[in-house]
């Protein structure tokens, strides 16, 4: 038997259907939900995306028909589970342009992927005085692991500053990245502001100094075509749950020679070649970094998510998001009292619009919107340095994905007008 995902996404190389948003929406059962009697308008996709029936069915199918542990048994189910799990690895490798599926390491998510690099690469290769360059717009998960390594090893952590419009100061970046730089660890897209970082300008600066480059793709991989070889980077970290996949599964891609130079992350089963009472030797990459029984079902579910996105085409996904973001920037910009943060050109930002509503705290904005069925995120978005730079305690954030419509942006805008009226800020 063949064990491939049973959905249309499998035919990624076939001729694509036109971008039909109604057809897409029918694939997401949760979008039919109502919230207190009004239709759900889900605009919190930068936090997590919803899941299509194809992914949900793939998870169910695995548990119903193929469940077994991987890499361990000669029995049929174990062979099937291994084939599905390794098949997902291959799909993901192809999705990001990796030449070798063994360069795909399954983790719990972006956070674990970055921590893996800090632990296994950083501790092996960095010494006191070595510099790691990040930016002011990073998610906490690309700041805290390096701060921990700094405190442990005496490395120096440097930040490329943010300009008032939410973009990075490339002038300063050129002077920050120097001979002591050993790693540039940078987001491809800010989760708080949507800023798309000009990687093609930053990566050569690091490469010219012989430094490695890690890209935090948590917000970019779900929303645009990413090709690790074309970018010329060394690590890419991303999460499954923000790209239609299950929670609890993520990816670290690394260039094979770099991965081979690293020590294991955790010790245990599956990551060893041989264990005696005295010592152990390590398995090859990626097993070396996947100690213990992996998250088999969710990895397979992520494979189905990748099939779904591939069938749509990432260029089409991006085109749709530019369209809806452009509409949202104009529509929300017309709502009295709304201030939008970040770049105002939809080409320069992902489908994320962070804003404040004059006189109404983001928490109250979110509460009023919830009564209209509109789900947005409020708070610091795990990017407190960005909030500090903007001098706001928190923002409200709407973020879009493949299934969002301009009608939903209209629902957001009128809910914001209702919030203003309710709090009596504007007549």
């Amino acid at each position: 038997m063949t064990l491939t995902a049973q959905n249309s996404g499998n035919s990624a190389s076939n001729a694509r259907l036109p971008y039909d948003i109604n057809r897409i929406r029918r694939d997401f059962p949760i979008l039919k939900r109502d919230i207190g009697g009004v239709p759900l308008v889900y605009l919190d996709n930068a936090a997590t995306s919803q899941k299509p029936v194809q992914v949900i069915a793939e998870l169910t199918r695995f548990y119903r028909d193929h469940n077994a542990n991987v890499h361990r048994g000669v029995h049929t189910l174990s062979v099937e589970a291994t084939e599905l799990y390794e098949g997902a690895r291959s799909k993901i490798a192809a999705f990001i342009g990796a030449s070798d599926p063994h360069e795909i390491i399954f983790t719990r998510g972006t956070t674990e992927s970055i921590n893996l690099v800090a632990h296994s690469w950083g501790r092996k290769h960095l010494q006191a005085g070595d510099e790691v360059v990040v930016s002011e717009i990073e998610h906490h998960s690309n700041i805290v692991p390096w701060q921990m390594l700094r405190d442990e090893r005496g490395i120096v952590l440097k930040y490329i500053p943010m300009l008032p419009d939410g973009t990075l100061d490339l002038q300063v970046a050129r002077s920050l990245i120097g001979p002591k730089t050993k790693l540039l660890s940078i987001t491809a897209m800010s989760n708080a502001l949507g800023t798309i970082v000009p990687l093609q300008e930053l990566i050569p600066l690091a490469k010219a100094q012989g430094a490695l480059v890690l890209v935090d793709g948590a917000q970019s991989v779900p929303h645009m075509a990413v090709d690790v070889q074309a970018l010329g980077i060394d690590f890419l970290a991303f999460s499954g749950h923000k790209m239609l996949g299950p929670t609890g599964i993520g990816v670290l891609w690394g260039r094979m020679p770099v991965l081979e130079s690293m020590d294991p992350f955790m010790g245990g089963g599956d990551m060893i070649l041989n264990v005696t009472m005295e010592q152990s030797t390590w398995a090859d990459v990626p097993a070396k970094f996947e100690a213990g029984t992996p998250n088999i079902a969710d990895a397979i579910g992520l494979g189905a998510a990748v099939d779904y996105l591939s069938a749509l085409g990432m260029d089409e996904v991006r085109r749709h998001e530019i369209e809806i973001t452009d509409y949202a920037l104009r529509r929300l910009g017309d709502v009295p009292g709304v201030t939008i943060f970040g770049p105002m050109d939809a080409q320069q930002r992902g489908g994320v619009v962070s804003f404040e509503l004059e006189g109404v705290h983001p928490h109250d904005v979110g509460q009023v919107l919830d009564t209209k069925g509109v789900a947005i995120r409020t708070g610091h978005h795990c990017a407190q340095p960005v909030m500090a730079a903007l001098d706001v305690p928190a923002t409200a954030r709407a973020s879009f994905y493949i299934y969002n419509t301009t009608a939903e942006v209209d629902a957001l805008a009128s809910a914001l007008e209702a919030a203003s009226a309710f709090f009596g800020v504007r007549a």
């Binding site: 207190g36 109404v360 705290h361 928490h363 109250d364 995120r377 795990c382 305690p393």
Partner: protein, 158 residues
């Protein structure tokens, strides 16, 4: 406009009134004790200054920024405790916290307006906003100064 009864339950008129026009919002000249409180996840901040003479709270003020519930609840709290004994204030703090759990009137004198916050108990995510000022007062009266948070979680996921 229609906002739904659920929303009206949460944001009662008296609450909005305190949010728009906070009471006791001018700093004291010579506070005898003070404390700072915050909910980092929401961005709620309050600072409370108290003047205690003998056992009586003769002056109280608050400052800060945050959501309507945190600021209005703190404003109502200052009105309640002003002129009362420190012991009565502590009873009020306990009664308020009880009210956030039971969603019932604690039936104590002077709580009429404050009972408008009963609706908050139905919104678990907002109880910590409503409690911030009261917890911060508790800290100030305990003379511990320092910082208070009513956030139970210390991390946020985006």
């Amino acid at each position: 406009m229609t906002t739904g009864s659920l929303l009206d339950d949460l944001y009662r008129e008296i609450l909005l009134d305190h949010y728009r026009q906070p009471r006791n919002h001018n700093p004291l000249d010579a506070p005898t004790c003070s404390a700072d409180g915050s909910n980092p996840l929401c961005g709620d901040q309050v600072r409370i200054e108290v003047s205690v003479a003998g056992d009586r709270i003769v002056g109280i003020s608050f400052s800060g920024r945050g959501c309507s519930i945190s600021q209005a609840s703190t404003s109502m709290m200052t009105e309640y405790v002003k002129g009362r004994s420190a012991e009565d204030a502590r009873k009020g703090i306990d009664a308020f916290q009880q009210m956030m759990v039971t969603a019932e009137s604690p039936g104590i004198e002077g709580f009429d307006d404050i009972e408008a916050l009963i609706g908050v108990a139905k919104f678990p995510a907002r109880v910590k906003c409503a409690s911030l000022g009261w917890k911060t007062l508790e800290q100030a009266l305990a003379g511990e100064g320092g910082a208070v948070t009513t956030d139970e979680r210390s991390v946020e996921h985006a």
